[in-house]
């Protein structure tokens, strides 16, 4: 045990990365095998390595506490994000195993998945700018290789993936440019060397912040640059979509949380120009996603627009911050909450897409017709997830700023615009969701169409976990609101403090 502790101490803080690298190395030896037994063995090795990395990261944190190094900075926010990413990795492994088990290149895809978690973990703990940049670039590289290697199902997917790949080079180049300007502003090698109100007066810092903001905007494919993202989601398989939604987007959110120190310095200034620009882009995105989803019939397309909507709410949170509605550190807390909402809502919905494709061969929403009768349990779970999603979006946004005090005008006409605009887009999203729920209850035709959905048992367990998680969170919040037991604010404020101290 002393020997193992010594090794962990020597490898710290890279223990998780080393474990994953070791698992990838073992998997390489079976890289070209098509034997089902070996595939199952590789799945087990990978899953155990993710679990071992999970345990070691928590163990290292408990043993050595928060610590800073030349390249890294580890505290509670980094621990939480690392655990979330490893949890995501397990889920993506599950989706890929379900959809791609019979492929010849399955084991190599698992290698690519295991490797893709390594730069994301590095990104989470990185503090040195070189380390951040390299980890982020390699994250994009590994995600692109993973998406492109999950086999093509539809003609035209090569074109969509190629265009997506070309577009992913742009945010990396912009971040490289942003760092080049940032160095002139301060010369610090670590991100923690920047930030603070006094540095906000530096014009080079402002230029670099604008460049970083553009990089994030292009990275997330926010409106009006959403074309390649919406095209690719229609043309790739369910397994590849899980990589796009649960690795690519969260990696961007993680980097955004790291960069919040820059954005917060300027957003705090209550600048009318900053407020106007951010609000315009936020509402372009929110309305674009909400309105665009109304006429869409493909479930993949609708859900991808919902995801863009969620990312758009993060832009709106910055807009609220620029108005002085929220404190400067609210943004990191909000980003983490959005990440958790995305996982709780979209992971089980990803399952719904895979079920649809399995049973009907297509992902159009008409394929869910009669789901409430064909498979009552899955239907009810999906409805609960959708309703929880609307409630979560209402709860997380700082509506109490408008309801308390002097009402909707407490933050001037800008606040009123935010309030009304957000209510309208939420109503539009509710319309979208109820449209989908109505299809579940449509009666099946007398002849034709499957009468029952073939649902593997494990899907029931999987979707139940997320429904229980969503319901538990709701119950905790309701209990807190009713002043029974623990105050709900204390639950969230403790997580809020974690992020404010981390930044």
């Amino acid at each position: 045990m002393v020997f193992i502790s010594d090794i962990i101490e020597r490898l710290d803080p890279y223990t998780g990365i080393i474990v994953l690298a070791f698992a990838a190395l073992i998997t390489i030896f079976a890289g070209f095998s098509k034997n089902n037994g070996i595939k199952i063995f590789i799945i087990l090795v990978s899953a155990l390595s993710y679990a071992a990395a999970f345990y070691l990261i928590i163990y290292s944190f408990i043993e050595y506490g928060p610590r800073d190094g030349f390249l890294t900075s580890i505290s509670l926010p980094e621990l939480i994000l690392s655990c979330i990413i490893l949890f995501i990795g397990l889920n993506v492994l599950f989706f890929i195993s379900v959809s791609r088990f019979r492929e010849d290149s399955f084991i190599r895809i698992v290698i690519l998945l295991t490797f893709s978690l390594i730069p994301v973990l590095s990104l989470i703990m990185a503090d040195n700018m070189i380390f951040i940049f390299t980890a982020f670039a390699l994250t994009i590289l590994s995600i692109f290789t993973l998406i492109s290697s999950l086999d093509r199902e539809i003609a035209g997917s090569g074109e969509a993936i190629g265009k997506f790949g070309i577009r992913t080079i742009l945010p990396i180049t912009l971040i490289f440019l942003g760092f080049s300007v940032l160095i002139g502003a301060g010369g610090a090698k670590n991100l923690s060397g920047y930030g603070g109100i006094e540095s906000a007066a530096d014009p080079l810092l402002l230029v670099s912040v604008v460049v970083f903001a553009c990089a994030f905007y292009f990275y997330f494919f926010l409106y009006p640059f959403q074309g390649p993202y919406l095209k690719i989601v229609r043309r790739i398989s369910g397994g590849a979509i899980s990589v796009l939604w649960f690795l690519y987007m969260p990696a961007g959110i993680i980097l955004l949380i790291k960069f919040n120190r820059f954005f917060d310095s300027f957003i705090e200034k209550n600048n009318i120009y900053a407020f106007t620009i951010i609000t315009v882009f936020a509402f372009i995105n929110l309305f674009g996603a909400a309105v665009g989803a109304i006429r869409a019939i493909s479930l993949k397309r609708i859900l991808s627009m919902f995801l863009l909507f969620e990312i758009g709410t993060m832009v709106l949170a910055r807009s609220a911050g620029s108005l002085g509605m929220t404190s400067c550190r609210f943004a990191s807390y909000y980003d983490l909450t959005v990440l958790i909402i995305i996982l709780i809502v979209f992971l089980p919905l990803q399952l719904l897409i895979m079920l649809l494709e399995k049973n009907t061969g297509k992902d159009i929403i008409a394929g869910t017709r009669g789901l409430a009768y064909k498979n009552i349990y899955i239907g009810i779970c999906v409805i609960i997830i959708f309703l929880w999603w609307i409630a979560a979006n209402i709860y997380v946004f700082p509506f109490e700023e408008f309801i308390s005090g002097s009402g909707p005008m407490s933050h001037g006409p800008g606040g009123l615009i935010l309030f009304i605009g957000y209510i309208i887009v939420l109503l539009l999203m509710a319309v979208n969701i109820f449209r989908m729920i109505l299809v579940f209850f449509k009666k099946l035709p007398e002849t034709g169409g499957p009468k029952n959905y073939a649902v593997p048992r494990i899907f029931y367990a999987y979707i139940s976990v997320f429904v229980l998680l969503a319901l538990s969170i709701s119950i905790l919040i309701i209990i807190g609101k009713m002043d029974i037991g623990q105050d709900h604010l204390r639950i969230w404020s403790s997580s809020f403090d974690i992020f404010s101290s981390g930044n």
Binding site: I17, I118, I130, L138, T145, L204, V207
Partner: protein, 191 residues
């Protein structure tokens, strides 16, 4: 450093910056793909000249190795498809809107980005004006060699090198997946 050397370096700076800007603008107005590739190479050479005159000649050797691979691949892609570029007869599916509408769209397509970039440029100029301290052109020159760079990379940034080497290895595995998928798809296309 002698005055003559300073003058030479300054002249090289002006030449390389000018070639960068001119070739950068020209490339977007030249339709031929092969000529664009030539201009790309000129851009690359200018960038390497700039790194040389900024006393960082070591970058030329290291970065060129990686750039050459990308350039070679892009050149292969362009050569293969150059007969699909402009000047080739239009396929029926390529027939588009009337000529006048295309010209109007192109003019608008150029004017709006010019206006956007001019506005951005003006904003940057107003913001940065006066920020840099007055410069008399005299600086202490440090030329850093490969041994110092490799020393610091392998002592303090070894995890980054590990990541890069692992990425290269994983890319090799990915190449095998892509090539085998490509062969399978070609088999389907040939049916």
């Amino acid at each position: 450093m002698s005055i003559e050397s300073q003058k030479i370096i300054e002249t090289m700076q002006y030449i390389s910056f000018a070639s960068l800007v001119i070739s950068g603008i020209a490339v977007f107005f030249i339709p031929n793909l092969k000529r664009k590739i030539v201009l790309l190479f000129l851009l690359f050479v200018s960038t390497m000249m700039i790194s040389y005159v900024f006393y960082s000649g070591i970058l030329i050797f290291i970065v060129s190795l990686s750039f050459i691979f990308v350039f070679a691949l892009l050149h292969l892609l362009t050569v293969q498809l150059s007969h699909y570029g402009r000047g080739s007869p239009l396929l029926p599916s390529d027939a588009g809107p009337p000529h006048s509408r295309i010209i109007t769209a192109r003019i608008i397509n150029i004017i709006i980005p010019i206006l956007l970039c001019t506005g951005l440029g003006y904003l940057i100029y107003k913001l940065i004006g006066g920020y840099f301290p007055a410069d008399d052109g005299v600086h202490e020159i440090f030329i850093i060699g490969m041994e110092e760079i490799s020393g610091i990379i392998f002592t303090r940034y070894n995890i980054i090198i590990f990541l890069l080497v692992a990425a290269a290895l994983i890319s090799f595995i990915w190449f095998t997946v892509i090539l085998m998928t490509g062969r399978k798809n070609k088999g389907e296309y040939n049916k």
